[in-house]
Subunit: 410 residues, 2 copies
């Protein structure tokens, strides 16, 4: 397995990918709210989607395209209205959007994915969408800046845009993988709530690419939570157009491992970034569970800790109220003995043990407060039961979370 | 089945029950923080306890007593420290408390239940507990006021005390059932997080009483949620001393049904009261699911709606953002088609349909706001899939929830 290198850029970093944005005025005024990511060269496409039974129209549209196995050319995103709970009219809006791209660019409409995020239960203004596609089709641009603009246009309550690109070598060829994502509220593991778009110029078999993506999200996007609400719109698409010119990866060899490793780091970067930018969040709240009986136990325990409202409020208040973390582990559904557990707080300010084998320890409250005041706080939990580990990322629960969500539609 | 009548009082309403309180200064100053509920006549006792793997020492103590099948004499509660995650020292504190009662009252120490609520991960000051028991043993009082005082002494972040008493007839004899509970944070279905103490003078077989209690909590205490955190300390005890003089209920006859019905209403009253008094709550948020495929589906759907942070924030903001409710139903784990669903908002201000068979309806936003501004807001969901129903109770998510929990220990 070869290592990767982080480079500048996002969805337009890989060869052959262009992006464009526009102000379609779907919900927001005076800001871009549509983005188009496009490759003239047809792409293999892998995708993962929300597990919510109530799926948005665009999720059903994209699922159908990805499962058809046909090559894809791009994805069109709007960040005003989620197009969920919208019935047939909502599905028709997806088709109309894709057909506008067909008309402008001459690619079949069923090679264009469509994604939405925003308010649930409202219909999209199709005329604005179509006008937006027409505008963007004439301004598609391969610059890194165009990718950055796209990552900004898809934001809703996000406070920062999220993009990354990496490069790695596959059989002597330089390959690029880039991506962007958005997500701040309605974020919860289970194909974590988000929109994510990854682009690469790698040549790889579609089935292998899907397998790598599905595996990688288990320990990245599915390990973050902002508020426990799994959205209707979760979509992660990975498109690769093969322009890097590498010998196509068709089996799980070293090249596949190199690709999967880079994919993991890209997804982890974006996932952590989403957790840290959780609605109202003031810090990144990480739970690291080590020496668990099984990988799944470790995942469930770590997620339960970072998902607990009380734990999140304690992290916000820099309150070393470690009992809340143990409580959240206790109701996670995993069986364990508190007598085996050790619990530490860790940050760049230091490491402090607060619980050991069933018994609370006396500790320096001032030092605890210092650790808990850091930008990333890690609750480190040693289960002493096995050798499996997992990490989950969340954020603190603040006044601003309530403020943002008490009147989101207005 | 005979009906019941609500009467004044709480845990001391039934014949033979006394209560006392004291200021033990365990965590709070200048307020009562210990309560003792006592019956000189030995009681049959039923109990349900937290499903959290991390059980408080007092939960283990009480579970052991209830399961032993021996008659009980009372319960001693403190509201300062939870006595959870405290190892052997915590269990010893329970025994010391019960032994203090034995010394003062001459009843065996293993007939005294012990309950705690408050901070997790701190040791109880045993000397203060013992002093409290000594004091309370000399002031046990059968007045209704003594019961009310007990319901106040067990409060933590509760803003109102919670008590109720009912009377009903069993084979010509007047029977009384009373109760009190506390719970405001760390409240989540699964033997919902709480302390509850029910007392009755009914004569009933212990096994039948346990069965009735276990059934009744499924649709009462286990259907409420404040914050999704299942506590380490959940305890509900029902003690009956038989002083009503009714022929002992030993089978599931009409008398049993009358008792169970009254028990259901007492538990429902206390459960609703806890949900409405959720930490920081400004209103009661009820989800009523009708015409579901199965009872369990109905329960899961209703609980998912009232547990969703985004739904709770919308209720706080009086925002008719009904997509969040559908979203919460969608990730609940229950399979259904959104095309079968109808959704209404209901309160004393009126009833308004917002979603019908997969499609959002145009509705009067002003009227919606008026409905959502009521003290109890009901989201009424018709699944059109069967004939089963369930109701769950929660509260809105407010700034105050965050405030209360960001610095609970200090």
């Amino acid at each position: 397995m070869k290592d990767f290198k982080i480079i500048e850029g996002g969805v337009t970093a890989a060869k052959g990918f262009k992006a464009a944005v526009c102000e379609a005025n779907i919900k927001y005024k005076d800001r871009t709210d549509m983005a188009f990511v496009y490759s003239e060269t047809p792409c293999e496409c892998a995708g993962t989607f929300t597990s919510n039974v109530v799926k948005a129209a665009c999720v059903m549209w994209d699922k159908q395209l990805v499962e058809s196995g046909k090559p894809m050319h791009g994805a069109i995103v709007n960040s005003g209205i989620a197009n969920a709970c919208t019935g047939k009219e909502g599905f028709d809006a997806c088709e109309a959007t894709a057909k506008a791209a067909e008309k402008c660019l001459g690619v079949p409409y069923d090679t264009i994915a469509v994604a939405s995020t925003g308010v649930i239960g409202m219909q999209l203004p199709v005329d604005k969408l179509v006008a937006g596609v027409e505008k963007m089709s004439t301004t598609l641009d391969s610059s890194l800046e165009a990718g950055t603009k796209a990552s900004k246009a898809i934001m809703t309550t996000d406070t920062v845009n999220k993009e990354i690109a990496v490069t790695f070598e596959v059989a002597g060829k330089e390959v690029v993988l880039g991506g962007m994502s958005k997500g701040s509220g309605m974020i919860h593991p289970n194909m974590c709530t988000m929109l994510g778009f990854l682009t690469s110029d790698i040549a790889i078999d579609k089935k292998l690419m899907q397998e790598a993506l599905s595996e990688v999200i288990t320990d990245t996007f599915n390990m973050i939570s902002v508020d426990g609400d799994t959205s209707t719109n979760d979509t992660l698409l990975l498109m690769s157009n093969g322009l890097a010119g590498n010998d196509k990866i068709t089996e799980k060899n070293e090249d596949y491992d190199t690709f999967k490793n880079a994919l993991f780091e890209v997804c982890k970067f974006l996932a952590r970034k989403m957790a840290a930018d959780g609605e109202g969040a003031s810090k990144l709240f990480t739970a690291q569970v080590v020496n668990a009986k099984s990988k799944e136990d470790a995942r469930v325990l770590a997620r339960s800790v970072i998902s607990s409202s009380l734990s999140k409020a304690a992290i916000y208040g820099c309150d070393a109220n470690f009992g809340r973390f143990l409580c959240a582990m206790g109701y996670s559904g995993v069986e364990f003995n508190q007598e085996d557990v050790e619990l530490f707080f860790v940050s760049d300010a230091g490491k402090l043990q607060v619980f050991k084998f069933g018994v609370p320890l006396d500790f320096d409250e001032e030092f605890a407060k210092k650790i808990l005041s850091s930008e990333e706080v890690i609750v480190y939990i040693d289960m002493h039961e096995g050798d499996k580990e997992a990490t989950a990322w969340g954020c603190d629960l603040t006044y601003d979370y309530v403020k943002i969500n008490a009147d989101y539609r207005s």
